[in-house]
Amino acid sequence: MEAPILSVRQLTVDFSTDAGDFRAVDGLNFDIPKGKTVALVGESGSGKSVTAQAILQILSKKARITNGSLLFNDPSNGGSIDIAALAAESEAMHSLRGGRIAMIFQEPMTSLSPLHTIGDQISEALMIHADVDQATANQRTVDVLSRVGFPDPKRALRTYPFELSGGLRQRAMIAMALITRPALLIADEPTTALDVTTQAQILDLIKELQAETGMSVLLITHDLGVVANVADEVVVMYRGRIMEAGSREEIFRNAQHPYLQALMRAVPRFAMAENERLTPIREVKSASLAAVDAPQRVQPAGPILKVERLTKSFTLRSGWFSGKTREIRAVSEVDLSLGAGKTLGLVGESGCGKTTVSKMIMRAITPNSGKVLFDDGTGRRDVHKLEGEALTTYRRSVQFIFQDPFSSLNPRMTVYELLTEPLRIHDIGTSDERYERVKHLLELVGLDQRALRRYPHSFSGGQRQRLGIARALALEPRVLLCDEPVSALDVSVQAQVLNLLKDLQSALGLSYLFVSHNLAVVDYIADTIAVMCRGYIVEEAPKSTLFRNPVHPYTQALLAAVPDPDIDRPLDFTKLRTGGFSQPSAWPEPFRIEPGEFGVMKEIEPGHKVRMGRLTAREAA
């Protein structure tokens, strides 16, 4: 048997911090065979990124490899080096790093310097390791850029990272890693920050390049769906130790370790049975949820919230020195309707306008045209025409849950202050009543009331998101707008928060507008799903219908691109290779929409509406 590219033996990494020493990686053993992909899976904090940094010796100053070996067998010269024995800034390590072992990172936004061109940064990698002049390096850069799928590689040499989309930036990162033809590529969450269709394309690209060059890949991810689709072997880590390792087949067909089994149950999947509940790894019990009665309120006759032909354009200044402006239509004639006690899922990729819609519902932005109608049982009213007392009441009825639980809580306020702030603003209750209310809210979201005097930084991401939910519930709202509430959370915690939202809905009779890019999550929580693309709602249907019979090409592409943690349902990469799903003018007839047009929504079966282009619009007229 051929020697593996990298053998990790008894790898131990210690951190020395002010709070004492801490072992991040504890006696790790695994091999990366030649030409294969090994996936390192685990929650955040499990030590998977630290392992990658140890292999490249780019650990932070506080961390140190204290034991073990990292035997690197370079196939190009047959030599074998123990990386763990090299000094981090030694000559040998410099030539390995980036030359024989390359790495790509999670955030393509921040992993590239904004002050240097793509060409400069990529050719630099080559010039460090190969004895070539700038002209040759540029030529090689153009070659590798065109290989990773840049539409105009010559021009790309002179572009800056911020001029590119997230997908192209990640392609540039891959080009930078691959230009030196490394034997091992370490990919640290390479697709986590990307949209699903882009994710599928990047995964496809990595697989193709691997087949071409015969390199090995160490893929670090928390997404079991990605693992099921690209890994040959899987290593599951938890708190610095390996819980389970084996081939993809073994891991997915026959998970042995309870941790792995629990992890698999915590991830929303498409094939879930109706009313099947996710099982979080660490269940959080809400003490009082079962005992809560839904408040007795007048129910509206129709939908509680209705959005009619909402349109919003933004004016962009195209540059610093030119006075030219550009008009961008972010939201085009969006119609939505949210029934009382129901959940409407709004799905779309970044920049499709879903957040703009939710902000217009909040009345944080004013639409160019269209209406937001709210009905709390006393009749329908246009939200953007409300004033005075009526507006205050509306603000009480509609609350927001944010994506980032870290920046959405003021770090200088205690939990008590955070949760009573809405009550103080709306002047509700005496301070004793507020205290009681806040204690009750904490119980609702499953937090201990000792939390009241603490500050947000002492809570984990999931706990903070539950604080955010408690704050949103403080004013007893009717509608919650959830903008990607679980995207920033670990899979294990995602399940907790999703279950909490579901329980709160049934206990308090809340209505949710659930905005997300993650189809599986929306599938788990929503009753009706609306798919959004480039400011259009392209398809809207009850969730079972949508997944059974997606009609619009964009919906189909979106569904096809979601990696399912089920090895019997692999991604169809060839289908996603064409691209252009998010270009309304590139959609096939009858869905094609010319720039400046809106198309029409057409009902093809009860509750299932699809946006059609001009041809059909004329037929309908």
Binding site: L56, I58, E89, H94, S95, L96, R97, G98, G99, A102, M103, F105, E107, T110, S111, L112, S113, P114, L115, H116, T117, E124, A125, I128, H129, Y160, F162, E163, M173, M176, L316, R317, S318, G319, W320, F321, S322, G323, R326
Partner: protein, 339 residues
């Protein structure tokens, strides 16, 4: 680009106009002016000949007119006793205190001021940047603590006090007389090699004294900026490419951390002129600072007005320069803007 420049120049002109009005009327705010004060003094002494001269000057420079008329004449948009002759025409007025045209009073001082302060700016950057880089890359090391400690002392020491101390000890230990910018025998002499040598040796102490506070402040800020940038992902990327530590540091995080300082050039230029008044007084440097101070005290309106306007022009031009430099150095500003 051209449109941007034109727009900026128009705004600059408007800004300067507003500043000129403010400057003039604030100088005129206290009752009286240099000449009326002088006349009152002369009356008390009963010197009628001088009084006649002062009254002639009052008429000559229109100080008996209403303030707004004086302003317009000073600006050069309204004909005064000498016809249209004001700032716009390059006539900077007459200094009553020195009994000379403003040009002659300020002339040499402006250049010497710029020289001293340019030396200070160079000194600050040469000293502060290496220390800041050292400090940031070795955060919480002994060296970092020492640099931080010295930095705080530098921040906390009043510069005029340091000037006095150095004045005394430099003379006592090295026999250098450091008052002024050159030895007294060169005063009024044309520029020659020995005079320049004398100037250079006199420049050392003022540079250190004036620059110390700025150096300390710059070390603190640069260190903080650099520490922020060192934590960024692109620096890890650079290291993961196999770039050596020094090159990776200088090419990526260091370059990023310079931005705030470039944005600061606009503030730096006026500091060059007016920043070192106290030290100049103590070290009796023939710079603009002390002249400005005395002219304000004696209400020598044209002299004070000119110096303040000069500082204002430097500020406005400095802002433009730093904006242009930023756009040149940072593609996000040059090309971005839309986001």
């Amino acid at each position: 680009m051209i449109r941007f420049l034109l727009r900026r120049i128009v705004t600059m002109a408007v800004t300067l106009l507003i500043i000129s009005a403010l400057v003039f009327f604030i100088i005129k705010l206290p009752p009286g002016d240099f000449l009326t004060n002088q006349i009152a003094e002369l009356r008390a002494q009963g010197e009628s000949a001088s009084i006649a001269k002062a009254e002639f000057l009052i008429r000559q420079y229109g100080l008996d007119k209403p303030a707004w008329q004086q302003y317009l004449v000073w600006l050069g948009v309204m004909p005064g006793p000498n016809g249209l002759s004001g700032l716009l025409q390059g006539d900077w007025g007459w200094s009553f205190e020195y009994d000379k045209p403003v040009v002659d009073v300020v002339g040499d001082a402006v250049w010497l001021t710029l020289l001293v302060n340019l030396a200070v700016v160079i000194f600050i950057h040469l000293i502060a940047i290496p220390i800041a880089i050292y400090s940031a890359t070795r955060q919480y090391s002994i060296g970092d603590y020492i640099a931080t400690f010295i930095g705080y002392i530098g921040l906390a020491t009043p510069s005029f006090l340091l000037a006095l101390i150095l004045l005394y000890y430099m003379n006592r230990w090295f026999g250098i007389s450091i008052g002024g910018l050159y030895d007294p025998q060169y005063a009024g002499e044309p520029w020659s090699w020995p005079k320049i040598q004398s100037l250079l040796s006199h420049l050392v102490v003022p540079t250190v004294v004036i620059g110390l506070g700025g150096t300390a402040a710059m070390i603190r800020r640069m260190r903080a900026n650099l520490l922020d940038e060192l934590g960024k992902q692109y620096y890890v990327t650079a290291k993961a490419k196999g770039l050596g530590p020094t090159k990776a540091l200088l090419k990526y995080p260091f370059r990023m951390s310079l931005n705030p300082f470039i944005a600061d050039i606009g503030n730096l230029l006026p500091q060059l002129v007016s920043g070192s008044v106290l030290v100049s007084l103590v070290l009796s440097l023939p710079t603009v600072g002390p002249i400005l101070l005395s002219s304000l005290k004696s209400q020598d309106q044209f002299l004070a007005g000119f110096i303040l306007m000069f500082v204002a022009v430097l500020t406005v031009v400095g802002m433009l320069v730093s904006d242009l430099l930023l756009a040149w150095l940072d593609p996000r500003i040059r090309i971005g803007g839309a986001r």
